[in-house]
């Protein structure tokens, strides 16, 4: 009985150590678990707009910033400002003004964020902006 107990008490920390090492290996072997936002744009007739969907990778380090500007069509643009804590989107040229701007925290992205916005450019053409967590292989990065 004594030997069994010694054997068990040795195996438990070993198992914990192996599991902990495995968790570490996942980051080491697969790369960092980046937070990503997908931005898809389509017209009212469901045709997609060239240059989309976009995949935005949020920065990792404290203090890092990624700032991008994507042109949609007819003077409508989406401006993206991302840190490792949030991503902010604003639409210049949108008839709706600032009401379609969004600030999405990384916590919301990690929880599975999805939203669809209706945005109109200065000449009255309507677009559907699809925002969501994660990206697909074919997205433009």
């Amino acid at each position: 009985v004594s030997r069994r107990r010694r054997s068990y008490s040795f195996r438990l920390p070993l198992l914990v150590a192996v599991l902990a090492a495995s968790a570490g290996c996942m980051v080491e072997d697969q790369g960092l678990p980046y937070d990503r936002l997908r931005i898809a744009v389509s017209r009212s007739d469901s045709t997609s707009v060239a240059g989309f969907p976009r995949c935005l990778t949020l920065p990792v380090l404290n203090g890092s910033v990624v700032e991008e500007r994507y042109s949609i069509e007819g003077g409508l643009e989406v401006e993206v400002f991302a840190t490792n804590g949030f991503v902010g989107l604003s639409f210049s040229g949108a008839s709706q003004g600032a009401s379609v701007n969004r600030t999405i925290s990384v916590e919301r992205l990690r929880a599975g964020y999805a939203e669809s916005l209706e945005v109109t450019n200065p000449s009255g053409t309507a677009f559907t902006i699809g925002l969501g967590s994660g990206c697909s292989d074919g997205d433009i990065r």
Partner: protein
Amino acid sequence: MGLALPVGLASGARGDALNERYASQFVFETELGAKATDALFVGGYFGFGLGAEGRDERIESFCDDNNSDGENDIECSVVSLRLGVTARWSFSPGESINPWLAYGIGFESQSQSINDRVARRRETTIASGLEFARLSGGLDWRPGKTFGMGPLLEASFGSFTKTSTEVNGEATFEGDVEDSAVHTWVTLALRGVFFP
């Protein structure tokens, strides 16, 4: 050369303490100047520091080498640069034991990188600004006329006002720190001086 400990805030953003970004650093610094009087030295300084990621648990966990393949697939580094002018007052300039106080002002830059070799993504962010008060004091021991040495304690107060980020060599941001704050590096070092 010495060890610098981060204190205070890197910026006013939530949770952006200096020690969350950067760990303590090994610093190496050199000064060049002349004595305006027996007691007053004026000159310039140049230094660099080497460190690691700070206490942010997420970044720290990324940077740890925690598999057994013998190489770290996620590399992290911090390098600092300092440049400026300084003035030092010696209280016993002709004695073998000389206590002194100094003030300096100059430029500080901290460059932090994380290199994900698996995803082939390297992110570097540089924060820079003015160190408006480098206050230090120490005690030099001078066994001869050509060389002296002794301990020093320094507190340098600064603020990051500019920041830039690069991902895979391409600039993703370059501009002002919107919500800057005051930070301090507290340094304990050993100093050597030629022709004191």
